[in-house]
Each structure stands twice: as structure tokens, then as C-alpha cells.
């Protein structure tokens, strides 16, 4: 019974493999993501200034190392005199929240439909699900999200729901492919012969075997969702003021780029670093959890 490994045992294996398989990039990713998550959680207690308080006398203060900069406002202030560093720290909250929750929604839908589609591969259920997937993948996610934004009031909840409901198709396609190969394996076939129900086979035999590649792709999906959220907030259609997001900060800074470069520069750096760290983490998770995704082969013989 080499194939059937319980998920808890897998987790234990993962624990020891984290130490064994730590790579420099993976560790950078893990540590950076942890720092961003912790900062987001404890933001109210660590920000040097109130991120919402405006002060017209302090507006457009440059970062501390420039002429006219002050050590009170390390990264400078924006066009209405709000502290940029404090706003950057607060901005991580929205990005992470939208990233995590929208991927959770998309993941659950994608996983469910993918299991269904793959398990009943070739049937009318599979055919109709895959046609919807094709249609969803034929239009840019951003475009779908934009259309949906017209329907509902822009805001945090709308954004999470809309990104979640428009980005599940890629998970369905991935999970379906995995299920198609897993269900031909011996242990699934023998469970069938022994008369196990479909629900039992899917939840006990197939799901555990597709979960690891799903987790890897979902991790990268968080980075994509954060990008989408930033783009929308940049366009003014995402999270609305007074809520702070990196995308809308960038939009504020755009009009001052000729005189005050820091307002638009730092939020963009924050997005890039976050997306990069999540990507490193995802790549590393793939190496640990799912070596076959990288090699592109089947690990049936292992």
C-alpha cells in the first residue's frame, strides 16, 4: 500500500522535509511572507503614525535621506501629509485578505468542479463543465472582474467575491487533469471493484492525491489575486477610500510623479516584493510537495 498515504502522515513527512529541503530562495520567500503576514496582523500597534491622519503642513515630505526629509517620516508623506510607511503597512492587510479569501473561494469551486469533471471524465457533466471553463479562460480575468464590478458596489467584499468567482476555472482544469490520471491507478480501481461509493472514492482516495499540486497552484494564485486587486484599486474600481491599499496609493502618487516620486514608488515595490516572496514560496512548496509538477512526469513507479 505504498500509494495510499494519510494526509496527517504526509504533513509529518513535510515537516521533516522542510528542514531537509530548505533552499535559499524558498527560505527568503517563507521568511518574507511571514514578516508581511505578521506586520499585517499587528499593524495598529507598530505603525509609527496614524495612517489616516492628514497634515497639510507636512505634505509631500520626501524620505529621510533626501533634502527636506525628516526622520519622523522615514519614507516621506503623500499629497495630503499622511505617513507613507504607516500606510504601506496598513495596505498589506487588504492585499493579503483579498488574496487569501478570493483564492479560498476560487479554490473550493475549482476543486469541487474539477473532482466532478475528472471523476466523470467524458460524460456530459465533464463536457458541460469544461465548456464553461473554456469560456471563462477565453476572456481576461481582469475584464470579467471589471464587468462584475459594474453590477455590485465596489468595495472589499465585492472585490473578494468577484475575484473568487471569476478565477476558479484554472483550478478546475488542473484538478481535472490530476483526477483523470489518479483514477486509473490500481488502488482506485480496486476500491471500485470492492463496491465503494463514488463519494467515498473521491474523498478518501482521489482528493488526498490531488491536494498537493492544488496547494502549490493555489499559493501562486494568491499572488495573482493580489495583482488583480492592485490593478483594480489602481483603476479606482477596487477597495474604496478610506480603506488603504497599495494600488490606490499608487494611483494617488501617479499625479505627483514629476515632483514627488516616492508616493508611487514604494507601494509598487511593496506589491513586487510580496508577489515575489509568494512566488518563491510557491516554487519551493512545489519542490517539496509535488516533484512531478516540475519534472512533468508521472510518479507512479515511486
Amino acid at each position: 500500500m505504498k500509494h495510499k498515504i494519510s494526509f496527517s502522515k504526509q504533513l509529518k513527512n513535510i515537516g521533516s522535509r522542510i528542514l531537509e529541503l530548505s533552499t535559499p530562495l524558498g527560505m527568503i520567500g517563507l521568511i518574507t511572507v511571514s514578516i508581511i503576514v505578521i506586520l499585517a496582523i499587528i499593524a495598529p500597534w507598530v505603525v509609527p503614525h496614524d495612517p489616516f491622519s492628514m497634515d497639510a503642513t507636512k505634505r509631500l515630505t520626501p524620505p529621510f535621506w533626501m533634502d527636506g526629509g525628516s526622520s519622523t517620516y522615514i519614507l516621506g508623506t503623500d499629497h495630503v501629509g499622511r505617513d507613507l510607511l504607516s500606510r504601506l503597512i496598513y495596505g498589506s492587510r487588504v492585499s493579503l485578505l483579498v488574496g487569501l479569501l478570493s483564492v479560498l473561494i476560487a479554490g473550493i469551486i475549482g476543486l469541487f468542479l474539477g473532482l466532478l469533471s475528472g471523476y466523470f471524465g467524458g460524460s456530459w457533466i465533464d463536457q458541460s463543465i469544461m465548456r464553461v471553463v473554456d469560456a471563462m479562460l477565453a476572456i481576461p480575468t481582469l475584464l470579467l472582474v471589471l464587468v462584475a464590478i459594474v453590477v455590485f458596489e465596489p468595495g472589499l467584499v465585492t472585490l473578494i467575491l468577484v475575484i473568487g468567482l471569476t478565477s476558479w476555472a484554472q483550478y478546475t482544469r488542473l484538478v481535472r487533469g490530476e483526477v483523470l490520471s489518479v483514477k486509473e491507478r490500481e488502488f482506485v480501481q480496486s476500491a471500485k471493484t470492492l463496491g465503494a461509493s463514488n463519494t467515498h472514492i473521491i474523498s478518501k482516495h482521489i482528493l488526498p492525491n490531488v491536494l498537493s499540486s492544488f496547494i502549490v497552484v493555489a499559493t501562486i494564485g494568491i499572488a495573482t489575486a493580489i495583482m488583480t486587486e492592485s490593478s483594480l484599486s489602481f483603476l479606482g474600481l477596487g477597495v474604496q477610500p478610506p480603506d488603504i491599499t497599495w494600488g490606490s496609493m499608487l494611483n494617488d502618487g501617479r499625479n505627483y510623479i514629476a515632483t514627488s516620486w516616492w508616493i508611487a514608488t514604494f507601494p509598487g515595490l511593496a506589491i513586487t516584493v510580496t508577489v515575489l516572496a509568494i512566488t518563491f514560496l510557491g516554487d519551493w512548496l512545489r519542490d517539496i510537495l509535488d516533484p512531478k509538477l516540475k519534472k512533468g512526469g508521472d510518479d507512479d513507479d515511486e
Binding site: A135, S230, G268
Partner: protein, 304 residues
């Protein structure tokens, strides 16, 4: 031709589902009546307009009418511009497609030499540098790249114009902005595909026959590594168009991206629907064309 016929037939359900999704969204959202009437309109005025627009019909009847109109090329009239929605879109389509094609050229121009170089110098500093740049290139949001390019090449060193699409110089910054992410994705792919081709038998044979390395690389490796690049162009096209919407905003580019944003802000649903449909259609056609090119380029793949 059997393959082509089958692909074309598969497009139809995809397009139907797409129109259904968009129509359902608009149906849920739709209150065009309040948009069109002045604020002091009476309930009676509303009822008359609702009936005139056919909005009192049940969902499926409205959807069928909508489909019928669409087949005749009628996507409705924009409230904002008082012009046929489809015309508004086609007028601006050329600007968006030009921008996308320029971005694609930028991506090809960057990714093919870099990808080949990284693969030939595998596991050297050059390889790590190229891979590093492409990972970072993918992580940067395109609107930020655009703003940073404006900062460096229009503000600090005023070389290129900031907005508009009047001269060839106007194309430079927007095309680079839109092309970076695609270039990053394609570089990785070219590298991987060159590595795979190098290991193939015919390359080994060419080498062992004593052909010059430059001929081996140019004739066998280069051409064959282009095959997956064609596929990725098809796959990445939706992202490219999606990116164009944002990049057009940064550079005030007169394409459908800006039209779409205005339409969204004013709830001009006819225009939104026309844009979504046109983009989806283009995407599907691009996918089909790249698929065919792929099959022509790679003799191992049969049409059926």
C-alpha cells in the same frame, strides 16, 4: 480540414456561455431605466420606457432577443455617446491591437535572445541573471512599470512623451510596459525549450556530423525552440489584452481600455457588452490561429 471544422464548432458553445454570463450580469445589474430618465420622472414614465426597451419580458426571452440582435451585429446603443456600441468599439480597436502587437514584438525581441543565451550558458552566472530578471519582471505590476518608466524616461530624462498615440515615439513606453510580463514568461519558456531541443537526437547528429556550432544553434535549435513560443502567445493573449486596459489608463492611450473604464463608470452596459464580446472573439481566433501554426510548425502533431 476535419480538425479545423471541429475547432470552429467548439467555439460556438464557448461563445454562447460567454454571452449568457455577460447577459446574466447585466440582467442582475440592469437598471438602465433610471440611468436614462431624469430624476423627476414619474412611475408611469418608467413603466413606458421599461416596456419600450422590452425590459418587462422574462429572462430567457430577453436573452434570446439579445442573441438575435447580436447575430445581426446590433449590440445596442451607448447611452453616453448616443452611437451604436459596436462602432465605438471597432473605432478604438485598432489602437489597442497595435499596442498589443507592439508589446508582443518587444516580448519576442527580448525573450528569444535571452532565453537562448540562458540555455546555452546553463547554470552559469548569465543563466541565473536572466532567470532572476524574468522572475522579477513577472512580479512587477504593469501600471507600476509604466509609472516608473515615465519617471525615468519622461521626467528625469525627457526622451519620450508621457501620453497619447500621435507619433512612433509615443509607442515606446506603453509597448515596453505591456511587454515586460510577457517577455518574462516567454524567456523562461524559450530557455526550457532550447534545453530540451539541445538534448534531441537530430541536434546530436548534426553535431557529430561536424557541423559548425553556429549552424547547429541557428538551424536546428533556434527554429525548433520557436514552436512552444507560438503556443504561449495564444495562451497569454487574454492577459495581454487585460494588461492593455490598465496600461492604456497610465499612458492615456486612445484604445478600448479607456472606453471600457468610462463605460463602467457610467454603467454604459451596451458598450461593456460589446467590448467583452469583441475581446473574447479575438482571443478565441488568436488561439485557433496559434494552434494551427503550431501544428504546421511541428510535423509530429497530426491534424486529427
Amino acid at each position: 480540414m476535419g480538425y479545423l471544422k471541429r475547432s470552429l464548432l467548439q467555439i460556438i458553445p464557448s461563445l454562447l456561455i460567454l454571452t449568457l454570463i455577460v447577459f446574466a450580469l447585466v440582467y442582475v445589474a440592469g437598471d438602465p431605466v433610471s440611468q436614462m430618465l431624469p430624476e423627476n420622472a414619474t412611475a408611469e414614465d418608467r413603466a413606458i420606457l421599461t416596456e419600450a426597451l422590452g425590459l418587462d419580458e422574462p429572462f430567457h426571452i430577453q436573452y434570446l432577443q439579445y442573441l438575435g440582435d447580436m447575430i445581426r451585429g446590433d449590440f445596442g446603443t451607448s447611452y453616453q455617446y448616443q452611437e451604436p456600441a459596436l462602432e465605438l468599439v471597432t473605432e478604438r480597436l485598432a489602437a489597442t491591437l497595435t499596442l498589443s502587437l507592439m508589446a508582443l514584438s518587444v516580448a519576442i525581441f527580448i525573450s528569444i535572445p535571452l532565453g537562448i543565451l540562458a540555455a546555452l550558458k546553463r547554470n552559469t552566472v548569465i543563466d541565473f541573471l536572466v532567470s532572476g530578471i524574468s522572475v522579477v519582471g513577472k512580479a512587477m505590476p504593469n501600471f507600476w512599470i509604466g509609472i516608473m518608466l515615465i519617471l525615468f524616461f519622461a521626467v528625469m530624462f525627457p526622451i519620450f512623451p508621457v501620453s497619447g498615440a500621435d507619433s512612433p515615439l509615443h509607442f515606446v513606453l506603453p509597448s515596453i510596459t505591456l511587454g515586460v510580463a510577457l517577455a518574462a514568461e516567454m524567456t523562461r519558456l524559450v530557455r526550457a525549450s532550447v534545453l530540451e531541443v539541445i538534448e534531441q537526437e537530430y541536434v546530436q547528429t548534426a553535431r557529430s556530423k561536424g557541423q559548425m556550432e553556429s549552424i547547429v544553434i541557428g538551424k536546428h535549435v533556434f527554429l525548433n525552440s520557436l514552436i512552444p513560443v507560438v503556443t504561449i502567445i495564444g495562451l497569454q493573449f487574454p492577459q495581454l489584452i487585460g494588461g492593455a486596459i490598465v496600461v492604456e489608463t497610465v499612458f492615456s492611450w486612445p484604445g478600448i481600455g479607456r472606453l471600457l473604464l468610462t463605460a463602467i463608470e457610467t454603467s454604459d452596459m451596451a458598450v461593456v457588452q460589446a467590448i467583452v464580446f469583441v475581446i473574447a472573439l479575438i482571443t478565441i481566433v488568436v488561439n485557433l490561429v496559434t494552434d494551427i501554426i503550431y501544428r504546421v510548425l511541428d510535423p509530429r502533431i497530426k491534424y486529427n
